[in-house]
């Protein structure tokens, strides 16, 4: 019984059979930058970049080797003084808008940004008309009653 439990616990420690490389992670995959300001910039960017392997996680959240390699790229480039948005643009150039979690205003996406403004304006116009009419109607009934 106890031996069975120990074997089960050992099985938990066994490496998964799925294909994974055995190389140590890239230098900056799990190591923060020394400069806290730069690390903050890198962290903010990494939270908004999509992992290419596990597609619903950001590279900051993912333990996939490729996400580690992407973090390494991001941190190395930020350490070298590159602007975070330039790094985002570099990745978008290769993988499309898809790789960024922060939507960009483009020829295709501008309606998404314009729609709320248009709807708000429309709502204001409709509300003005409706309430204006009710007020006028209310005034009429009030006059009719008196």
């Amino acid at each position: 019984m106890i031996r069975g439990i120990i074997l089960l616990l050992l099985a938990l420690l066994a490496p998964p059979l799925a294909a994974q490389d055995t190389l140590p992670p890239a230098p900056y995959a799990y190591k923060q930058l020394d400069d806290p300001v730069k690390e903050k910039a890198a962290q903010d960017l990494m939270m908004t970049l999509r992992c290419l392997t596990c597609q619903s996680q950001s590279i900051a959240d993912s333990d996939a080797p490729m996400a580690g390699d992407m973090r390494n790229q991001v941190r190395a480039r930020i350490a070298a003084g590159e602007d975070p948005e330039a790094i985002r643009a570099w990745l978008i150039e290769r993988y499309g808008d898809w790789v960024s979690y922060r939507p960009q205003v483009t020829a295709m996406t501008w309606p998404l940004f314009a729609a709320p403004v248009v709807l708000l304006l429309l709502a204001a116009v409709i509300a003005r008309k409706r309430f204006g009419r009710e007020k006028a109607a209310g005034a009429k009934t009030a006059r009719g009653k008196s």
Binding site: T22, L23, L52, D69, Y95, G96, V99
Partner: protein
């Protein structure tokens, strides 16, 4: 309210139902196509992966002859599956330059010994940098590079028997 308007909510429900049902029945395509097709291969210079094959750099793709750039790894299972078809392409006279992703030299050597070595050159990339250069998101992937270093085609996943003639055609088009 007009008479027909009472059916509007049901109609909207029907539309939403159709949208969700089609999403469930035909799940979205999750492959990530590279946006680098038609663009020049970015400069790179990788060290040798195994002693019996020279290293790879951008200069090896700009001598006028179209080639394949294949990213693979010894730890990648589909790479084993595509090995015979890469060999078939190599036998047809195609020059294939390989890049081993996040791999160790003895592992690459053992992989090539077991599955054959169709590569003219093999570079080693320990931090997947070449994949970010190519817009590649996994292994294996195969790129057709024309003689001037322009990426003309990306094949995602392992090369299967039905892809061989298509890739030969893409290489011919890149000439």
């Amino acid at each position: 309210m007009k008479h027909w308007a009472i059916w509007l909510p049901l109609a909207m429900f029907g539309v939403l139902f159709a949208v969700f049902a089609s999403g469930l029945l035909a799940p979205a395509d999750r492959t990530i196509a590279s946006q680098m097709i038609g663009k020049p291969l970015p400069a790179f210079d990788l060290p040798q992966a195994v002693p019996d094959r020279p290293a790879v750099s951008l200069a090896n793709f700009t001598d006028g002859k179209p080639r394949l750039l294949n990213v693979f790894a010894s730890w990648c299972v589909p790479c084993v599956a595509e090995a015979p078809y890469l060999a078939q392409l190599a036998n047809a006279g195609v020059e294939i330059n390989g890049v081993a992703i996040r791999d160790r030299q003895p592992d690459v050597a053992a992989f090539l010994l077991r599955n054959g070595n169709p590569y003219a050159r093999i570079g080693a990339d320990d931090v997947s940098k070449i994949q970010f250069d190519l817009g590649s998101s996994g292994v294996p992937e195969t790129f057709v590079i024309d003689g001037k270093g322009i990426i003309t085609y990306q094949h995602i996943g392992d090369i299967r028997p039905e892809h061989v003639s298509m890739i030969l055609q893409k290489l011919k088009e890149a000439q």
